[in-house]
Subunit: 476 residues, 2 copies
C-alpha cells in the first residue's frame, strides 16, 4: 500500500478548483505552496504527474510544468529523474513539529514559533501537580474512567460560571479533552452533514476543520471590523443555520471583545433565527486591562452553549476543556464523547482543579507576562515595520496585523526561511482571503519577540522587493 | 430549547423498526428497556406521546400503551398525569456514573460494576508518577502541544514493537488519547461514509459506535466459535470492504486468541481483498499463560495497522493509546487528530513512558491478579450457576459466558436491581442477537467477584422463574 502520494483529483480538490487569476501557473504554485505551508499537504508527499494534475484541473500541461518549476525553485518541491516530484519545505529551517499542520516547535529549536498562541506552564504548576498527585490514590483503585469528568472538577467549573454571573450546577458541565474536543463533540451532536453553520471570519482554524469534517456548510460572516449583528441575524436566517460558532471574548485571531449590548443583540438574533450559539470562551479569563462583560449565556442560558479550556489560561499540556449547557444535552454529549476517547486524563483533571482553585494567582501571572509581551511586540513592530498596522487588544494572546499588501502567504514562506514560523491570514478564513493579515501571538519572552520581528522585517523586505509579475524563480 | 425529550420518529429510529415478534407490545417494551440499559436512551428523557410513537412505528396505539405500562411496572418508565412519561432506572440501585452508557461506578458505590473490564492502577504507579513529574520541567516551558506525541514516548512504543518482532521506527507511531481515539481517528481517515467495514461479532461496542458515527456500513462476521478465515475473506470481497477491524489477542469479549497460522491466513485474505486490517491489540501484553503469537503486522507491516493502549495494561485513568503504521499514514493521522483534540496529555504520556520501561513488573502484577480473579470467578460460577458455560480464556480480562436461555438483557436488568452491573451479549453485537451471552470481567478482587456471582445467581433465579409469556408486570 502506497499512501505517500496525492492523486491529481485529490490535489485538485484540495485546491478547490483553479483560481481565476493570471498568470495561472503562478497562482497554482502559490496555492500549492499554501497547502504545504499550512500542512494540508505534508512534506515528502509525492505529487501527481503533470499530465494528471493538468487533466484534473482542466488546464494545460505547460501550466502545471511551470507551476512545479516555480515551486522547485522556491524549495517547496523536489524532483528526481524517474522518481517524480514530491513536496518539500525550504532547507534547514523547519523544526520537526512544524511539518505537521499547526504543530509546534519545542523550545530549543532555532525557529521562533509564532504559529502557536499558547504560553508555558504557570509558576505554581509544580505545586498544583504535587497537590493533584496527592489526591490521585483516591482514584487509583478504580478503573479511571469517568466520561462526564471527575465530579470534583465538574463542581469547580460550575462554581466558576456561577461566580461569573451564570448560575450553573455540576450536572450542566461535561469535562472534555480540551476545547477543540468540546467543539468536535458539539458539532457531532448538534450538526448533521449538510447543515449550515455560521462562523466568524476570521476564526480559529481547528474549529473550521472540525466543521468541515462534520460535513457542515460553513457560512462565514466577517468580523474583521467587529460584529455586525444585523448581518449575523440575516446570515442565520437565510442559511437556516442551526448553529453559530462565535468567540465573543478576545476573538481569535482579531482580539476583539463583544460588548454587553452586542451580546444581548447577538442572542436576540439567534433567538429570532432559532439557532444555537456555541460560544468559545477560551480567552475569557484573560483580560489584560478592564473587565470582560457577563458571559453570553447570561442572555439565554439554554440557547448559548459555553466552551472553556485549560490550555490558554493554565497550560496547553493539560488536555482539559469543558462544555456548559443544559443537563439533558450534557447527557447526550457524554454518550457521544465515549465513542471519541471514553474519558479525560484523571491526573490532568486533578491538576486543572487545583489550578482553578488558585485562578487569581495564575491570572495575575499571565496578565503581567502577556502585557509585557504585547508591549514588546507592538514596540518592535512600530520601530521595524512601521507600515504594518494593528489595534493592540485588551486581552487574549495575539495581535492581528494588517500588512500594506496581500502577501501574507508569501511572507510566511519567507519568514520560515528566516527562522520564524507565523500563521498567514488565509489560515483563519474559509476561502483564500485575508492575504493582508497575519496573526502574531505575544506569549514568548519580550527579547524573543524582538528577534522574531527583526526576522519578519528581513523576510518582509525580501517579499516586498520581489517584482510582482516576474516569472521564475521569484515569489509573487 | 427543550432537548430532554425523544421524538416518536427518533425513538423509532433508535429501535430500528418494529421487531417481528409477538406479542408485539412485549418486544417493544424489551427493546426500549435495552436502549435505557445500554445508555442509548438516558434516564429522565421524556418519551413521545403514545400516539406519536404508534404512528412512527406503524403500530396501534394500544400496543404502545401496553408497552409503556409494562415498562412502568418494571421501573423503566415513570409517568405523571399531565406531564407525560419519561425513562427511568429501577429504584435505588444505580450509581451516578452508570446512567451514562458504558460509564462506570467508582469504588465505594454499592453496585458491583462488572460493566467495565479495566483494572486499578498498578503498585508502581506512584513511583512512575513521581518520575514523570520530575521530567515535567523539561516540557513546562513549551506550549505543551505535540500532536504526534512526545518524541520519547514514540521511541519507547516503537522499541516495544521491535522487541515483539515487528521492527518499528518512532515516526511510525502516533500517540493518541487512548485506543478508542486511535480507532476513531483511523476510521475518520480510512473510511468514507457508506464504506463497508468488516467487524467481528461480538466485538468491542465503542468501536462499533465509532464506525456507526463515521457512517460506515458494518459487515459483521461471527467469531463466537473462532475466526473462520474463509468466511472473513469472502465477506471482505463481497462487501468490497476497505477495512476490517479485528482483535486478534484475547478478543473482546470472547477471549479468543488467533494462532500464528490463522494470522498468516487472515493477512492473506486481506491482501486478496485489498483491504486494510486494523488490529486492536489492547490485550496483547496480557497472556495469563503461554505466549502470544507474533503481531499480525509481521505478516504485512503496511497493510496491518496496530492499535495499542495504556488503559488495560497500565491504567484506564491514563488516556493514552497509540497507532503503529507507515510514516506517511502517520502524517495524515496527525493532521486529522489535531481537529479532534490537538494533542494528548503531556504528564500522562510521561507516566506511560515510565511504566512501559517497567513493563515486566506491571505485567507480572497484572497476570497474578487476573489469574486469581479468573479462577475465583470461574469457581463461583461453577458452584452457583453450574448451567452457565464458558471457556476460561488464556489472557485478557473477561469471561464470555453462555446462558442456557436467551435472557441476557432481562438478566442485566434484574442484576442491576440486585446490585450488579453487567453487559448483556447484545451490547457487543451489531443487531439484537447474542441474547444468550454475558461478558463477565474478572478485574475486581476475588471476594467481590464471589459476591457478584451470588447476586447474579439471585437475579438469574428471578428471570428464570418468570413465566415466559405472562403479560404485565413480569419480565419476559
Amino acid at each position: 500500500m502506497n499512501t505517500q502520494y496525492v492523486s491529481g483529483l485529490h490535489l485538485a480538490r484540495l485546491l478547490a478548483g483553479p483560481p481565476d487569476e493570471r498568470p495561472y501557473y503562478a497562482a497554482l504554485a502559490r496555492e500549492i505552496r499554501r497547502l504545504v505551508l499550512d500542512g494540508r499537504l505534508p512534506a515528502r508527499v509525492r505529487l501527481p504527474a503533470e499530465r494528471d494534475l493538468a487533466a484534473a484541473l482542466g488546464v494545460s500541461r505547460t501550466t502545471v510544468t511551470a507551476a512545479y518549476d516555480r515551486l522547485r525553485d522556491q524549495g517547496f518541491v523536489e524532483s528526481r529523474q524517474g522518481a517524480g516530484s514530491w513536496t518539500a519545505l525550504p532547507s534547514g529551517t523547519v523544526p520537526p513539529g512544524a511539518r505537521f499542520g499547526m504543530s509546534h516547535a519545542w523550545p530549543g529549536s532555532e525557529v521562533i514559533d509564532l504559529g502557536c498562541a499558547a504560553p508555558s506552564a504557570p509558576r505554581i504548576f509544580p505545586e498544583a501537580v504535587a497537590a493533584a498527585v496527592a489526591r490521585l490514590p483516591e482514584y487509583e483503585a478504580g478503573p479511571g474512567y469517568e466520561p462526564a469528568g471527575l465530579a470534583v472538577l465538574r463542581a469547580t467549573v460550575a462554581a466558576r460560571y456561577t461566580e461569573r454571573g451564570l448560575p450553573t450546577r455540576p450536572d450542566q458541565i461535561v469535562i472534555t479533552s480540551g476545547a477543540q474536543q468540546a467543539c468536535t463533540l458539539l458539532f457531532q451532536v448538534l450538526v448533521e452533514s449538510g447543515d449550515a453553520v455560521l462562523a466568524e471570519r476570521p476564526t480559529y482554524p481547528h474549529a473550521l476543520d472540525a466543521l468541515r469534517r462534520r460535513g457542515a456548510r460553513v457560512v462565514p460572516v466577517g468580523v474583521d471590523a467587529g460584529w455586525d449583528i444585523e448581518l449575523i441575524g440575516s446570515g442565520l436566517r437565510q442559511a437556516a443555520a442551526r448553529v453559530a460558532y462565535v468567540i465573543p471574548d478576545f476573538q481569535n485571531p482579531t482580539g476583539r471583545l463583544l460588548d454587553d449590548a452586542g451580546r444581548a443583540a447577538l442572542v436576540a438574533a439567534a433567538q429570532d433565527a432559532d439557532a444555537l450559539l456555541v460560544a468559545d470562551e477560551t480567552f475569557t479569563e484573560l483580560p489584560l486591562a478592564g473587565s470582560v462583560p457577563r458571559p453570553l449565556a447570561v442572555h439565554d442560558p439554554a440557547r448559548v452553549i459555553c466552551v472553556g479550556s485549560a490550555a490558554k489560561l493554565l497550560w496547553g499540556g493539560l488536555r482539559i476543556g469543558w462544555i456548559r449547557t443544559t443537563a439533558p444535552l450534557v447527557r447526550r454529549l457524554v454518550l457521544a464523547r465515549e465513542s471519541f476517547d471514553i474519558a479525560s486524563s484523571v491526573l490532568d483533571q486533578l491538576i486543572t482543579d487545583e489550578l482553578l482553585h488558585r485562578i487569581d494567582e495564575v491570572r495575575a501571572e499571565r496578565v503581567e507576562w502577556l502585557t509585557r509581551g504585547r508591549d514588546a511586540l507592538t514596540a518592535a513592530l512600530g520601530e521595524l515595520l512601521p507600515d504594518w498596522t494593528f489595534t493592540a487588544p485588551a486581552g487574549g494572546m495575539s495581535l492581528w496585523v494588517r500588512l500594506p499588501a496581500p502577501v501574507a502567504t508569501d511572507l510566511a514562506a519567507a519568514a520560515l526561511r528566516h527562522g520564524v514560523r507565523v500563521m498567514p491570514g488565509p489560515v483563519f478564513g474559509t476561502e483564500g482571503v485575508l492575504e493582508d493579515r497575519l496573526r502574531l501571538p505575544f506569549v514568548l519572552p519580550p527579547e524573543t519577540l524582538r528577534t522574531a520581528v527583526e526576522r519578519l522585517a528581513a523576510a518582509y523586505r525580501e517579499v516586498e522587493s520581489a517584482p510582482a509579475a516576474r516569472p521564475l524563480p521569484a515569489y509573487v
